[in-house]
Symmetry: C2
Subunit: 232 residues, 2 copies
Amino acid sequence: MLGSCGSCGQCLHCEARSRSICSVIDPDHVARLAQYSHRLAVSPGKTFIQEGEAASDFFIVTSGHAKLFSLMPDGRRQIMGFAQAGDFLGLASGATYAFSAEALGSLSLCRFSRAGLALLRREFPDLENRLMEEASRELVQAQKSMMLLGRKTARERLASFLLEQHQRSPTREIVIHLPMSRTGIADYLGLTIETVSRTLNALQREKLIAISQVTQITLLNLPALEILARGG
Amino acid sequence: MLGSCGSCGQCLHCEARSRSICSVIDPDHVARLAQYSHRLAVSPGKTFIQEGEAASDFFIVTSGHAKLFSLMPDGRRQIMGFAQAGDFLGLASGATYAFSAEALGSLSLCRFSRAGLALLRREFPDLENRLMEEASRELVQAQKSMMLLGRKTARERLASFLLEQHQRSPTREIVIHLPMSRTGIADYLGLTIETVSRTLNALQREKLIAISQVTQITLLNLPALEILARGG
DNA sequence: CGTTGTGTTGACAACAGTCAAACATGGTGG
DNA sequence: CCACCATGTTTGACTGTTGTCAACACAACG
């Protein structure tokens, strides 16, 4: 019997396993992780990372979704990304966190102290590679977002967003379920909720998508969406 | 006598030293770097990294400036950042480069093969830390850009840009010299050249800055610029 | 001196934002 | 079970910031 991972109690069998830390740790030593980490449940809507506070911990999402965002003094909000099972939280931090994080629905995390993680990195070189690989992946994703926010139209942003959600879903079905509200989509894409709503409905009228429920969208024409998303 | 670094011939005495790779390598072993790297001069305007090509190399800027950008099929351009002495190029890459890079003026680089860098990382754990630290720094910077592109007005973007240039200059003088053209600024801030020109002149009329030459701007009122840049 | 590239300025257009109202949705308690 | 309310979403009318197109200024350079 495989049993559960020493660190998060579920890494060895949950969907997140293949991308989590456990996957690069020699099974004989997985128990070592438990010394530096513990599980954490976050209730819906709770902010569990506050921008600007000392970055003492590092997290791995084991189930649920979170939004990572930053606020301007007058309340304008930019969402940097959404994290789901297997994602790392806290790579983009110096001495303090560079973003806030809030649970979308209920959320389970695996928390590592940064000091503990530093020790583990020395002990397991594969872990080091895994973190670096993840940092590169996030950097590439951030650059895609910069192109989206700086140069794409509202239609192109929505098409890009829907395809991104599609690609991140475990099943890759053409029906996607959105864990965030219209406000979440707007703050991620640098738009207003009205523009998000109008644009989604325009895409529906053009038969590129079908909005069955507010948070459930069917991608009816993937090739057309892909052309739209990359801008021609 | 200190002499020059085995890898780039100048890391040990150039301005970039403190942030370069050499600074974390035991001086006795610095010559090992030379086995995996060599110097490279790039002429002005030359594209030396092509988005989408196999990411076989990793670079460190030793002098000059480069712009990192991505293009859409119809020619829309987003500049992800400007690199100067000491900056790393190529962290944001999977199998292929996620961006193109072009020299602004003449540029000197130190090139490492990725395979060689992988060997060096195993050999020098401090190098591993240095790369991770740099990846975090870039990630934080990318998130600031996302806020800028998604939520800031043209005035706020220009103020943010000028302060960023100010903070990156080695001298921290209030007179800053821009290595890029108006097109470069526009493509970095997600604006058009006309808006950049109009907005800079508006800031000048309001006595926040003075434009002595096209590429030379004096920051006359740092506190006001900071308030503007963060949005109130 | 023309010529070319780059930057500035003006008139106008358009995409997305703002404000407001109507409309769903979902939960709660009578 | 349904009325009620709170929250979130859609739709409409209008505004405004930024983009587009075009003319012009200016410097660098042969």
